[in-house]
Amino acid sequence: MNDDLFRGKLVRLAMDEPDVMAEAFARWTRDSEYWRLLASDPTRINSVKATRDWLERELFKDPPDFHMFTIRRLDDDRLIGEIGLDGVDLPHGDTFVGIGLGERDSWGHGYGTDAMRIILRYAFTELNLRRVSLDVFEYNPRAVASYKKVGFVEEGRLRRFLHRDGHRWDLIFMGMLRAEWEIHKGEISVR
């Protein structure tokens, strides 16, 4: 059995104390670009207290509404982001995955892609789901490329769904079936 369920090549998935998470998450919201890449609701700056209250209410309730992990680098153990599965629909075996890297200097180094591989393995071999879904904003091409590298297939777009900065942008849906993951295991070779 795989005892490295939470470890990848560059990062590991973990759970941190609420104070640690609240400090980091609140700090990341000071960067409006981080939020705009991740969430559709209007950007907000959150205080540590408000973040901590939210974590207590949502994440630490039993059972939690979603499976969230913190992402830590293997080399220096730095907390760089979070990744989670939302809306796990057990009867249909599907869920939505979402990831956010709050530390800007960790963008573009493959940490997100590695974290995504770990959570896919978790979804398919520990939660035994049959598919994993995600949605991503048209104006986030770096994320779209990362998800394709890991094997997600584009399934369509909700046209002109997001209104930001005077423009309308599509909301792209992607999905991966268990049968597909079992073949490539999240590693799509570049042709």
């Binding site: 609140a26 919201t29 000071r30 960067d31 409006s32 670009e33 705009r36 209007p42 950007t43 907000r44 700056i45 959150n46 205080s47 540590v48 207290k49 408000a50 209250d53 104006y139 209104h163 930001r164 900065d165 005077g166 423009h167």
Partner: protein
């Protein structure tokens, strides 16, 4: 798209921990000039504890009622003021803005104007509002000048709506439309 909604040159926007916010607010309202420029009601001098309690209660709400930011000096990180977009009519995409610079040494130097620009950019490109309104007291000539400079237009006057120091004063209603703001920003 531009990356940073929260930073200007002179100021940047933050969310405060309840203690810090309560402490500043409590002190600002003890300055009656500030209180009389900003607020219509005779403000009770609330304790820091009471203000902290309200802020915390606000945080507990699932759906906050408006968008509130505190404003800090970019140079020295000092907490100098705030603004809030309230009373949002979601299907009409309107809102009212309340803005205040609490530290008097920051008046008349462009800090408030810049905070207003950040507020309007947030209102028009993130909340996608169609118009922003404000009410300002006729004797607050410095603010009125600043609002005109920011692109607000005079829309109405509530005649003699305030009584202070034995005299009646008008309340001025101003507004700015998204297309007007976009034309200026272009």
């Amino acid at each position: 798209m531009p990356n940073d909604l929260f930073h200007g040159n002179l100021v940047y926007l933050t969310a405060e921990e309840p203690e810090a916010q309560a402490s500043s607010f409590s002190r600002w309202f003890q300055n009656t000039e500030f209180a009389r420029l900003l607020a219509i009601a005779p403000e009770i001098l609330w304790s820091q504890n009471k203000i902290k309690e309200w802020i915390e209660k606000d945080y507990e709400k699932e759906k906050p009622e408006g968008y509130f930011f505190t404003v800090r000096d970019s140079q020295n990180d000092r907490l100098i003021g705030f603004f809030g977009l309230w009373d949002i009519d979601v299907n009409h995409l309107n809102s009212i803005i309340a803005i205040g610079i609490g530290e008097p040494e920051y008046w008349g130097k462009g800090y408030g104007s810049e905070a207003m620009q950040l507020a309007l950019r947030y209102a028009f490109t993130e909340l996608n509002l169609h118009r922003v309104s404000l009410f300002v007291f006729a004797y607050n000539t410095r603010a009125i000048r600043s609002y005109y400079k920011s692109g607000f237009q005079l829309e109405g006057i509530q005649r003699k709506a305030m009584l202070r120091d034995g005299e009646r004063h008008d309340i001025v209603a101003m507004g700015i439309l998204r297309e007007e703001w976009e034309a200026r920003a272009a």
